[in-house]
């Protein structure tokens, strides 16, 4: 049976020097802000801290709130907070994980705390109406629940997109996380069979997502930085 691994770097390109300098100067201090919540989510969802830190740095520079104190929300899909989790995507993936009994007791405790309206039984796909999406949206405004939901989502995406030998493709997971589960980029031969470089050269992938990939898994990118710093 294979093991799960993420190989870094997975593309021989490095992010712009401005980004690398910012990461090296602020990456650790920013990660400290919600470190306890990230450690909890990392354990609950079984995702390396380096992966969660990478997404939080690139998405929001670890900011959960706007400068006026409101929780950061963007886009019509209401991507929320520090990990920019959309309530609809969070519910869809949480439901899949519950149906497959892939939810830890630590996660169950947090779901019951922040989303008490959500009734579920492990091993059974939950049903819910549209009001639950709004409940999830409210719950995602709590930073620790936001990080947990993001972690559960990312773990699922990493397994969904892994290669046959167990190598996890954070680049492919990022495309789904950033562009959408069923975006046109995920239908290309390069997405299905190609390596990170082949994927990076696909015209169907938005420049902002290509930039996200290089900042994550490129040389001197976030995964490199946080792994070298022991996370």
């Amino acid at each position: 049976m294979f093991n799960f691994t993420i190989k870094i770097p997975s593309i021989m390109v490095k992010p712009p020097a401005k980004f690398v300098n910012e990461l090296q100067q602020t990456g650790l201090s920013l990660a400290n802000k919600y470190k306890a919540q990230f450690v909890t989510a990392s354990n609950a969802a079984n995702v390396p801290l380096s992966v969660l830190f990478t997404v939080a740095f690139i998405e929001q520079r670890f900011e959960h709130y706007n400068s006026n104190g409101s929780v950061s929300v963007s886009g019509s899909e209401r991507s929320t907070g520090i990990l920019q989790v959309s309530p609809e995507a969070a519910l869809v993936h949480l439901s899949k994980e519950i149906a497959a009994s892939r939810i830890s007791s630590l996660s169950i405790g947090m779901i019951k705390k922040y989303l008490p309206q959500f009734n579920f039984t492990l091993g059974v796909k939950p049903t819910y109406d549209s009001s639950m999406v709004d409940n999830m949206f409210s719950a995602l405004k709590n930073v620790d629940f936001n990080i947990l939901m993001g972690a559960i989502y990312i773990r699922r995406l990493l397994e969904d997109t892994k290669d046959l030998n167990g190598t996890m493709r954070l680049d492919k997971a990022i495309i789904k996380y950033n562009m959408g589960e069923n975006s046109r980029a995920t239908k290309t031969p390069a997405y299905i069979l190609g390596d990170t470089t082949a994927l990076y050269n696909q015209p169907q992938i938005a420049n902002i997502t290509k930039s996200y990939i290089v900042k994550s898994v490129g040389v001197l990118g976030c995964m490199d930085f946080y792994t070298k710093n022991g996370f």
């Binding site: 870094i8 021989m12 490095k14 020097a17 963007s74 019509s76 397994e159 420049n207 930039s211 792994t227």
Partner: protein, 121 residues
Amino acid sequence: MTTKKIIILSSSLLLASFGIYVYFNNRVDSSSFQKHITVKLDTNIDPNTIPEAADVANDGSDIGSQIAMINGEIFFLNTEDGTYISDSGNIYDPTTESLTTTGNNATSTHIDASQVKLITN
């Protein structure tokens, strides 16, 4: 067997094997959740020999010179390919007049160019 039949049979086998690949590649089972993910870092790379990616997206020089409002959402022009992109990654392509959203239920909607309100030039 005729050449045509051989081509059809070969194509069917190719499609079937592709389907099996996709099935196994996407398989997520409950036991896999217990497995830890190991990050393997290759430290034998000299970053000085590695090319730098173009400065796009969040770092900015290629995005942000022109702002448009589409369906109440702010979009920035990506001068590299002429599309508009929002903070959440939604993309409007003025050549096809299509708005592609992100998220789990990504959609592509036709938005007439007349509905795109340019805020700055």
